[in-house]
Amino acid sequence: MFVEIRFHGRGGQGAVTAANLLVAAALKENKYGQAFPFFGAERRGAPVLAFARISDRPIKIHSEIRSPDIVVVLDPSLLELVDVTRGLKKGGVVVINSKETPSIGDEYNVYVVDATSIALKYKLVVAGWPLVNTAMLGALSSATGVVGLKSIVSVVEENWRGDVAKRNVEAVIEAFNSTRKVR
């Protein structure tokens, strides 16, 4: 198993944290992981990228991910700005935070989850921004099984405390259960 994932988000939405948590979840399953941001100047609100590799053997490479197996889109408005399927392998998976069914190329498997509503429902808002990253990890697990729901819940519980942890866990589970395949 060797999977490369690209996260599209906006600065402040937690794409980098999502990639890091995914690696922590992989470690729980005795897998290996690597997570990294796009190495530039990060600005709040601007389109940003984060990357992750998950493997069942140690990862030697450190170069960029150019042809991901999976793309996770944290913000539906990015679809108009960025070619989110750029370099995506044929038959690859796209997991999108969206209320609607977006039009993405026929050659991909597309999953949709309304992570913004879930984040708002569980009051996961910082500086006016719905934090959808934990919900999107639930959706990613549901769509691909790259790491299990249990592992994601357990790293979320370790990363936050008390009520915030509880609300994030609820968001992860609700997103996991409501993710649907649209293509």
């Binding site: 890091n20 690696v23 470690l27 690597q34 389109p47 990228l49 450190h62």
Partner: protein
Amino acid sequence: MVVLPLTGNYAVAWAVKRARVKVIAAYPITPQTTIVEKLSEMVENGELDAKMIRVESEHSALAAVYGAAIAGARAFTATSSHGLLYMHEVLWWVSASRVPLVMAIVTRAIGPPWNIWTDHSDLLDQRDTGWIISMAESNQEAFDLTLQAFKITEDDRVNLPMIVGLDAFILSHTTAPVDVLEQEDVDRWLPERKQLYVIDPNNRFSLGNIASPKDYMMFRYDIEKAMDNARRVILEVDREYGKVFGREYGGLVECYKCSDAKYTVVAMGAWAGDAKEAIDILRDNGYAVGVLRIRFIRPLPVNEILNYLSGMKGVIVLDRSVSFGAGGQLFTEVSSILASRGRPPAMKGVIAGLGGVDVSYSEIKDIVLKFINEVEDQGWFIKRQEWFMPYEYSFKDYG
């Protein structure tokens, strides 16, 4: 074993904590900043009993930890790029005072034009300063080297400072699993700090005074001897660490499938991992290739390079830096060693990845394959150098 998902920078901070460093001084510069940010957090919340000294520049940062080190404290600093260049003068003060001190360098290109991404120019600019200079391939190795650096530098055969290098972003800001060991195991392994002398107000002596030409040259000869001793000490510490903690890297170099190889790639830093991946693919296609990873550029692994590479049909050296007018520094040094004994292998130097240009394992595979074909088609040649740019620069439209 305590495995945590850590960035390369946090891995270094954890090693500093495990070594129970007493004094830290640093000035922020991307991409080093998160090392000392994490350390100051550890000091603030009581995890690390150390003094953080705030300074106004990198020159002062190294001067401050130099003062702490000659006063007998285990000390640490970190920097990158222009910060390191600004420190340059003080590097000589520390090594020529024969004082153990550890510094992390998150390698970053030098401006202008302004660039925050990795290459090895800043690190290799310090080659001649009398510091031991190492370079990590992974976050785990950044942790292990930083911890080992305290034992190596404080060995009474060495008494020289040491740099631990790690690539900007591709290690420094990349999260990967790191075994940070148990504190009590590290305490058992790493002895109390030892050093040649300690500044003591009750026992006054003069340091850094003017020396006659003859005395000066003797001081320099002593540094050279200590550097030579460091070769043995680095190997001993690596072996002992392997026995105690289960990770042994090979000393000054790491040989990856190079013992039965006809062609070998020489590289240093994180992209050596990509070179290993490339070599695995080439081996699957029937090519006898290997990687010789340079872990220490000072002291230079002269015997290792001769032993592993003399009998090769071809040696290709990847440089992530350039000495303008001479070529890649690794290539210059490796090829001069190989040319000192009989007929050397066919040798090629490739300069690539400057200023953070991404070079993938599949591009390294193509670079190596091209070299093999050149040697097989044209026969032996002594030295050839070229620059490599990737075929497409894939993410220029993003972010």
